[in-house]
Amino acid sequence: MTTKLMAQGQSPLLGKAGTRSRKQKAFLYGFLFTLPATLGFLLFTAGPMAASLFLSLTDYSIFKDGIRFVGLDNFIRLFTEDELFWKSLKVTFYFVVLKVPATIIVSFAIALLLNMNLKGRALFRTIVYLPSIVPAVATSMIWIWLLNPDLGLVNTVLRWLHLPTGMWLYAENSVIPSIVLTTMWGIGGTVVIFLAGLSGIPNQYYEAIEVDGGGWRHKLFHITIPMVSPTIFFNTIMTIIGSFQVFNEAYILTQGGPNNSSLFYIFYLWRTAFRDTEMGYASALAWVMFVIIMLFTLLIFRTSKSWVYYEGEGRS
């Protein structure tokens, strides 16, 4: 479309009188300005990706001399022999299933609260966002302290209130929910995006509901949620991608334990690549995860037509 406009000399940038040399100049500038990003993408994303796709078909190990092409052996081993691959996949899916709805619902709820006309709203917004700029290592260390089953603050308070205590990060059945809980601490970024979506809703819709005699429930379900559905859509996709790539928590909090019940996929991949130095196999692991994430993203894109509402297009 742009090229057609340009060819007809109607590019809004150039005006109707744009000559060929001006067009060329504009193209050159455009090209130059995007060059850093393009180069960055090619060198640091596309290049390494292509390299890892190639390596996933080899037995490349950093310390060994020479690379042998092994075809699909890595993928076959992964699907048929590697118990830890399935275990880590299961653990990661469990994490995603808990983490994504929790993040979307909690951060949307917080955003709704922060969008109200409260006194000190700016302060509350700062407080909610603040944890997400604290380094993950620092917050994780604090969570280790808080969730220590015997000496930690959380259990001490629960014991004091005569409530049942938990093993938190130290039991197989509670480690993933506990990790999800610790990540709730850093949802400030998602909240901010929701806030941006919420502030874009024109007030007259709410006024119309009030005139019609509707309450907050009507406002929420008939105005707010449909109007921010593009934001929900965006946040859901970003959270899914981020959750599949969960790493820090296993690396810092649990080292994958207890009994491999927090052996997240990317943590396992990292261990394979950098401790066991099996780069070829790790590349195969990486590509499987890439495909999984792509499938999920695609799935959500496909379903989005039925629940994401874009103003001006209507629901189809």
Partner: protein
């Protein structure tokens, strides 16, 4: 078509840039960018005596350690005027970054290595110099000058690394808590060490619930404990290996062919440790990844009366406001302490093996890193520093990290009752432990007995057993 034509100059620009970049990286192939520089330097300085050279040294460690290394390097450079040492301190993700360097053929000349991670995989690919040749031919140095268990062999006769110092395990305790409870503190010498039962008995008396009842009294509430008798015994293999060895057990059989942690000696020791948590209720639940709270905080806040930890804990304890002392570990059958520690290795790709060896020797010299030895985090690598009273004084006197029990509980234990770290002789250690550690989680949590857990994984672990490094 026109568009394509327009892109052409751009395309060629990209191609040119890529060419440029690949040329750059191509030039660096073979760790030799800096070696090439060295050669240039060599040529330039060749006129007068020795040629100036540069050695790259990578290490991990905290600020104190970096500072001590810098001092040691300064001493080294003063006596080797032609050598400049470039210290690259990598405090976090050391293995990841070193791996990346190796992948780019940019390995250092000398590197601190960890026996549990990269050292042996690299050694097996022949990346390190055999230090035995240097050790044997150096008139100023010999193997018998070193303390036990700081030499790492990939196989008999192939010495791949020397540790700048051993680290042993010991029992730390809060002196005031023992005094207040009217309990005799743990003995500091191996001869008088507590038996396991004596130890459990004391641990019980020092474990106290919210109502002030201790674990040996009727009515004690194990769900509401405010003070624990002991911590640090389980979780990490470093800690529990002491007791497996002390009960006559091992990770693999003597001939290196069989997985041995499911054998009675090892199982009994592991079960005793798990019982501290689940039967006697004298130890907190296992904490996997991080030692939180740290030994110094646990003792200072009187949350725990005794902690099993490595010798290095003395540094933090020394600067913490707590009246602590150090004792020998309780004994199941034999007094044993496992010796762990990083090592220095020389990459085969170095252009200057002799100077690298000189550097390793300098780093092993306790004089150079005296501050670390004195503060408590390190111990000297040289035997005379444990035997000559004047030298012992040099690194133990007037140090808050060297308490009354230190001489017998640490020094004598190291000299007389120490065992090599399993990482140093068990081949494929990581892969075996990838199977053992998760299974033991169930034991520490009291969900399975040690026998059940180890039997359940014995076949899988056996499949990863590849022999021992200390036998032919």
């Amino acid at each position: 078509m026109k568009l394509l034509w327009k892109i052409k100059p751009g395309l060629s620009a990209i191609l040119f840039l890529m060419l440029l970049l690949s040329a750059c990286s191509g030039g660096g192939s073979g760790g030799n960018a800096n070696n090439a520089n060295n050669e240039a330097d060599d040529a330039a300085g060749g006129a007068g005596g020795k040629e100036p050279i540069t050695l790259r040294l990578t290490m991990w460690g905290n600020q104190n350690e970096v500072k001590a290394f810098e001092n040691a390097i300064k001493r080294f450079e003063a006596s080797h005027s032609n050598v400049t040492v470039k210290l690259e301190s990598i405090p976090t993700d050391y293995d990841t970054k070193l791996t990346t360097m190796i992948a780019g053929n940019e390995e250092p000349d000398v590197a601190m290595m960890e026996s549990a991670t990269l050292a042996f995989p690299l050694a097996e690919e022949g990346k390190f110099i055999n230090l035995e040749d240097y050790l044997n031919s150096d008139p100023s140095f010999s193997a018998d000058k070193l303390v036990p268990h700081i030499s790492y062999y990939a196989e008999p006769g192939n010495l791949i690394g020397l540790s700048p110092g051993p680290e042993t395990f010991a029992l730390y305790y809060n002196v005031d808590m023992f005094t207040d409870a009217g309990i005799e503190p743990p003995p500091a010498s191996a001869e008088e060490a507590w038996t396991w039962d004596e130890f459990v008995e004391v641990a019980k008396r020092l474990t106290i619930d919210e109502n002030g009842k201790n674990a040996s009294e009727p009515g004690f509430d194990p769900k509401r404990i405010r003070q624990f008798g002991i911590s640090g015994a389980n979780g990490w293999w470093g800690s529990w290996s002491n007791f497996v060895y002390g009960n006559g057990g091992d990770f693999v059989s003597e001939d290196g062919t069989t997985f041995a942690l499911n054998q009675p000696e090892a199982v009994e020791a592991l079960q005793k440790l798990a019982d501290l948590v689940n039967v006697h209720h004298v130890a907190p639940s296992p904490v996997q990844a991080k030692n939180v709270p740290g030994t110094n905080i646990a003792l200072q806040t009187k949350k725990v009366a005794m902690v099993i930890d490595g010798q290095w804990a003395n540094m933090d304890l020394g600067v913490t406001d707590v009246n602590y002392d150090i004792a020998v570990l309780p004994v199941i059958k034999e007094p044993v302490t496992t010796v762990v520690g990083g090592m220095f290795s020389i990459f085969k790709s170095t252009k200057h093996p002799q100077e690298s060896w000189e550097l390793v020797k300098a780093l092993l010299d306790p004089e150079g890193t005296l501050e670390l030895n004195h503060k408590g985090v390190w111990m000297p690598a040289i035997r005379s520093w444990y035997e000559d009273p004047a030298l012992i004084d040099k690194w133990t006197k007037d140090s808050p990290g060297r308490t009354a029990g230190y001489k017998t509980a640490v020094i004598d234990m190291l000299l007389e009752h120490s065992r090599q770290t399993p990482t140093g002789y068990v081949k494929n250690f990581n892969k075996i432990m990838d199977i053992v550690t998760p299974a033991l989680d169930k034991v520490w949590l009291g969900e399975q007995s040690a026998q059940e857990a180890m039997d359940a994984i014995a076949d899988k672990a056996q499949a990863q057993v590849q022999g021992r490094r200390d036998i032919e």
